[in-house]
């Protein structure tokens, strides 16, 4: 049975039966312990108190409390079990519903708002879960309890019982009436909540439109209308709900009233014992509980029923094609496609009509035509994403709608114009289609992935991603030698080219293109304790600069920087461009201006002021920050402080550092890394070290940037070529594949997204490939690259159907089919169609 046709109770009756039976058993046991105290009550009054028997009193009281305690514990257990069962059933319901939803045809999703689906799958199902747990147990228990207590009461006095129970039939009439009203409001509430969800979803999806049109007020008004309506619906809903409770309570109060009246009268006239009266009263009160539970159950059942119906109704569409073929393996097609009078209409509108053509295996077809001519629709029909309204489509001689989704996905890959990129890494996205085939063990290996990346023109981008990433330590460690090798290539073989744009870290020298902080500390701390911003408060550092007499000079330098920057740029304002040559940041201008005002002409004495000026000095890069010059002699003193710091405070083997640096500079050779089993926190800028908190690029080029020039691009290409010769470039690419693309791939450019989609499709390697303007957002060069790929690599290996806009890309196709207003008006090779001088010819000349 289709999941959406199942009644609510189907889930209750067919899932987790043993557990439900257990629950039932526990309830029955607890029932006994709920009736037992009643009997005790009667005996306490009639026997113990009446007969003045203390022993019996104690006995019966003990039994009383014992039974009550047990009953409470069991009730606790029952509640827990109920919830567990309910949630377990819910798990099954959710998964199966999702399974169904995903397969619903595309037309469904065209009309359906994502907000509705989300709301249905999450919040609305939650509400049903609570009901499901007790769906069977509660009514059974309540009815049994009710009957038992009723029986007990009857055994005491049939007359009284009949009198007190007379109320209930009234309730059986009134309450359902109120309940129907409640249901109506409930349905409205659900509809309203869904609409709200949709509005939020729309606004968030199109947030850039909202911002660019400043339509905040408009959106808020839309939402406010629904919020308001929800408020009113809820108000009415709860008025009815509590109305029902009120009605119930009122009816209940009559009971004791009658009881006291009649029972008291009987007791006065000796026809009824006091004990029995007390017990009867108790029983009467107790009978209310199961009744109330039945009432609540009834309400909850209605509520859950309505919600359940509402959820299932929207998804009540049969999936068009089975997921898996029955009784056979999915076909492996050759790629023969035949269309016989194929047509597609939406209502009265004919999007395609009378398409008849035959595409042989490995033929490459271009679909061209005017906008709205039905090219994309045709592509979607062949991919079984839409179903033809007339005529038929045959794949390898088989009717397409007899094929399961598995048959199609094994044989056809479609690349759409706006591909969807999932949150995750580039690698995840590339492997998505292959993984979907369910074959997690036969994933393409790295070299296949990388060669495909190369073929679609993504290599440059992935390289750049890789270079800019800061891979985690575990990723780097196995490849450490390789990265150090790359470093030695740059400083050795390519030294001449790079010496002009990078100042390599060299322990012997003061580095003009590194900050003073880098010059002093000359290393990186994994814990961040030697980060520039933390240095003024770092005890070790403080001690160092005080002892070496640097503190005063650095503060003076900072003061000079602050004065000159503020003076020069105070009228310019916080324009970041102008702050590139000063260690001060644009948004700090005001603060420093205030600081200088406070100081006046005096020198800074407060620790806080000195620290802030110290920061400026530490950030200062002599080669870049032209705002001031490095004071005379400071470079030498910084250098000696560095050596002192490294050797005596950090315990670095400075001789080894000197030696390896000189050796690298002179011979281009790098000693292999000594393996440290314990993780040190401090890593100096020595050639044999890897800086785990820095990007791959920083680690390979290992120095300060002298300048950013257009030459840089060319030099990187040179470097990459050198790496490729050593088989090292692939390592960078591999790391680049771990780049996180962001939600919907928003950290990638449009062209990059499209290339990922194309690579993803090609990795899947199916006999038929359909491309719906798949290269539309690429630049001309990339489009040509992909076209050439199709023309050469895949010629004779795939049947290709490409919907194309740019007609200059069509000559290499075997056949061009020209569509207009849903019909084929011309077909033939490029040469034939040009000779014919028909519609295609016109189109080409217009472009």
């Amino acid at each position: 049975m289709l999941i959406t046709r199942r009644p609510l109770f189907y889930w209750v009756l067919t899932r987790h039966r043993p557990l439900q039976l257990l629950l039932l058993a526990v309830i029955l046991v607890s029932l006994f312990f709920r009736v037992f105290p009643l009997e005790m009550q009667k005996r306490i009054v009639n026997e113990a108190i009446h007969l003045r028997n203390e022993q019996l009193l104690f006995l019966y009281c003990a039994l009383y409390i014992g039974a009550i305690t047990l009953a409470s514990l069991l009730k606790y257990l029952i509640n827990v079990m109920q919830t567990v069962i309910g949630q377990k059933i819910l798990v099954g319901m959710r998964n199966e519903l999702y399974h169904h939803i995903l397969q619903l045809p595309l037309q469904f999703y065209r009309k359906m708002q994502p907000g509705t689906v989300i709301s249905a799958m999450t919040a609305e199902l939650n509400a049903i879960g609570l009901f499901l747990g007790g769906a069977l147990a509660i009514p059974v228990t309540s009815i049994l309890t009710f009957l038992v207590f009723l029986g007990f009461m009857f055994s005491l006095s049939p007359l009284l019982t009949l009198l007190t129970v007379i109320v209930y039939p009234f309730e059986l009439v009134v309450i359902p009436l109120l309940q129907r009203r409640y249901n109506r409001f409930n349905k409205k509430r659900i509809r309203n909540t869904r609409a709200m969800g949709n509005i939020v979803n729309e606004a968030v999806s199109g947030i850039h439109e909202v911002h660019s049109n400043s339509s905040f007020a408009l959106e808020e008004k839309r939402m406010a209308a629904y919020v308001d309506r929800l408020y009113h619906i809820l108000k009415k809903l709860f008025v009815v709900k509590y109305g029902m409770k009120f009605a119930n309570n009122m009816f209940q109060s009559f009971g004791p009233f009658i009881l006291f009246l009649v029972g008291g009268y009987l007791a006065i006239h000796g026809q009824f014992t006091l004990g029995a009266l007390v017990a009867f009263l108790s029983a009467y009160e107790k009978i209310y509980d199961p009744w109330k539970e039945m009432m609540e159950y009834y309400q909850e059942y209605q509520d859950a029923s309505v919600r359940y119906r509402q959820i299932m109704k929207i998804f009540d569409l049969p999936p068009e094609h089975p997921l898996l073929p029955e009784g056979r393996e999915p076909y492996r097609l050759r790629g023969d496609i035949e269309l016989k009078g194929t047509g597609f209409s939406v209502g009265a509108v004919k999007l395609l009509e009378g398409i008849t053509t035959r595409i042989r295996p490995n033929e490459q077809i271009a679909l061209v035509g005017f906008s709205g001519s039905g090219k994309s629709t045709l592509a979607l029909l062949i991919a079984q994403l839409y179903n033809a309204s007339h005529g038929s489509i045959l794949l390898d001689g088989r009717e397409i709608n007899t094929l399961s989704k598995a048959d199609i996905s094994r044989n056809i890959t479609m690349i759409s114009q706006q591909p969807f990129i999932f949150t995750g890494t580039v690698r995840d996205n590339l492997l998505y289609a292959v993984r979907a085939g369910g074959d997690d063990k036969n994933l393409p290996d790295r070299s296949r992935l990388l060669s495909l990346v190369r073929e679609v023109g993504l290599e440059e981008d992935i390289l750049r991603f890789g270079l800019n990433m800061v891979p985690p330590r575990e990723r780097i460690m196995p490849l450490l030698d390789k990265f150090l090798h790359m470093r030695s290539i740059i400083q050795g073989e390519l030294n001449e080219q790079f010496a002009g744009i990078i100042e390599f870290y060299d322990c012997h020298y003061f580095l003009t293109y590194c900050s003073l902080r880098d010059n002093i500390i000359f290393g990186d701390s994994l814990s961040g304790e030697f980060d520039t911003e933390h240095l003024p408060d770092n005890k070790v550092f403080r001690k160092l600069i005080d002892e070496r007499g640097l503190e005063g000079d650095l503060v003076a330098l900072g003061l000079d920087i602050a004065r000159k920057t503020v003076h020069l740029l105070k009228d310019i304002g916080e324009d970041e461009f102008f702050f590139e040559r000063s260690p001060m940041q644009a948004d700090e201008l005001e603060n420093y201006a205030t600081l200088l005002d406070d100081l006046g002409n005096g020198s800074p004495r407060q620790r806080q002021h000195r620290n802030r000026l110290l920061l400026l000095a530490l950030r200062f890069i002599p080669g870049r920050h032209s705002i001031v010059d490095l004071p005379e002699g400071l470079d030498d003193r910084i250098l000696s402080t560095r050596h002192y710091f490294l050797e005596h405070l950090m315990g670095v083997d400075i001789e080894a550092c000197f030696t390896s640096t000189s050796r690298l500079r002179e011979t281009g050779a790098l000693a292999s890394l000594p393996m440290f089993t314990d993780q040190r926190d401090f890593i100096p800028f020595c050639p044999t070290e890897y800086l785990y908190r820095h990007s791959l690029k920083d680690n390979i080029f290992f120095g300060g940037t002298i300048r950013e020039t257009p030459d840089e691009e060319r030099l990187y290409a040179v470097a990459m070529e050198a790496f490729a010769r050593q088989g090292l470039r692939d390592e960078i690419l591999d790391i680049g594949l771990d780049f996180e693309v962001g939600s919907k791939g928003d950290r990638l450019s449009g062209g990059q997204r499209q290339k990922v989609a194309i690579a993803r499709a090609l990795l899947k390697d199916t006999p038929i490939l359909i491309m719906d303007e798949a290269t539309a957002s690429l630049d001309n060069q990339s489009q040509a690259l992909i076209q050439k790929l199709i023309d050469t690599r895949y010629r004779g290996h795939k049947t290709i159907i490409a919907v194309i806009h740019r007609l200059d890309l069509t000559p290499s196709y075997d056949r061009i089919i020209v569509l207009r207003a849903g019909t084929v008006i011309e077909q033939g090779s490029y040469a034939e169609l040009m000779d014919r001088k028909g519609v295609f010819y016109e189109l080409v000349h217009k472009q």
Partner: protein
């Protein structure tokens, strides 16, 4: 392949050799400002603006024989010659023709038009002797003009006048060096 010295080599040399860096002339902004003030181009510019340009300008050194700009590459900055001699050449039908000689005492700048528009260098400039130049990028120029928009019309007209001067100097130089037979007087157009 470019191999110009930059401020780094300047500093490096001075720290390992003699200390001719800070010879008491004040900070490098002051030095650059002083240099700019001497140029006729900047005669009417306010001191504050001048200091801003000095701050944004870069000083570069080119050893003898090094190309400074190469014909065909995108032009993005103006060059002011502080010291040394620079030769201007153009490629015509595959041959390099020498067009002009620049020296600090004469016309001592080129690329002034790059401040106003985007184009590719239509000539090459090479350091004939060791040369030091001061460069101002188009971007820096535009940013400063954004802050002082009232100065733009005057500045543009000054740049154009500079270009005229440069062009006139170039024409005279060429004519001086051409053989008389090659001259074509006006009125004898063929």
């Amino acid at each position: 392949m470019r191999n110009s010295w930059t401020e780094r080599e300047y500093f490096m040399n001075s720290s390992t050799n003699s200390k001719h860096r800070n010879s008491g002339e004040g900070s490098s902004i002051d030095r650059k400002t002083a240099f700019l003030q001497q140029l006729p181009f900047f005669h009417e510019t306010a001191l504050e603006t001048l200091r801003l340009y000095a701050y944004l300008a870069s000083m570069e050194k080119f050893p003898a024989g090094e190309p400074i700009v190469v014909q065909g590459e995108p032009a993005d900055r103006m060059y002011l010659l502080i010291s040394g001699k620079v030769g201007i050449c153009a490629d015509h039908h595959g041959r390099q023709f020498h067009l002009q000689l620049l020296a600090p005492d004469g016309v001592s700048y080129f690329g002034e038009l790059a401040l106003l528009a985007e184009f590719d260098w239509f000539f090459s400039a090479t350091a004939l002797t060791d040369a030091t130049v001061l460069t101002i990028t188009r971007e820096a120029f535009h940013r400063v003009m954004e802050k002082y928009p009232e100065q733009l019309p005057k500045t543009v007209s000054r740049i154009i006048k500079l270009h005229v001067e440069l062009f006139v100097d170039q024409t005279h130089y060429l004519l001086d060096h051409l053989k008389e037979e090659a001259w074509r007087e006006c009125g004898s157009e063929q």
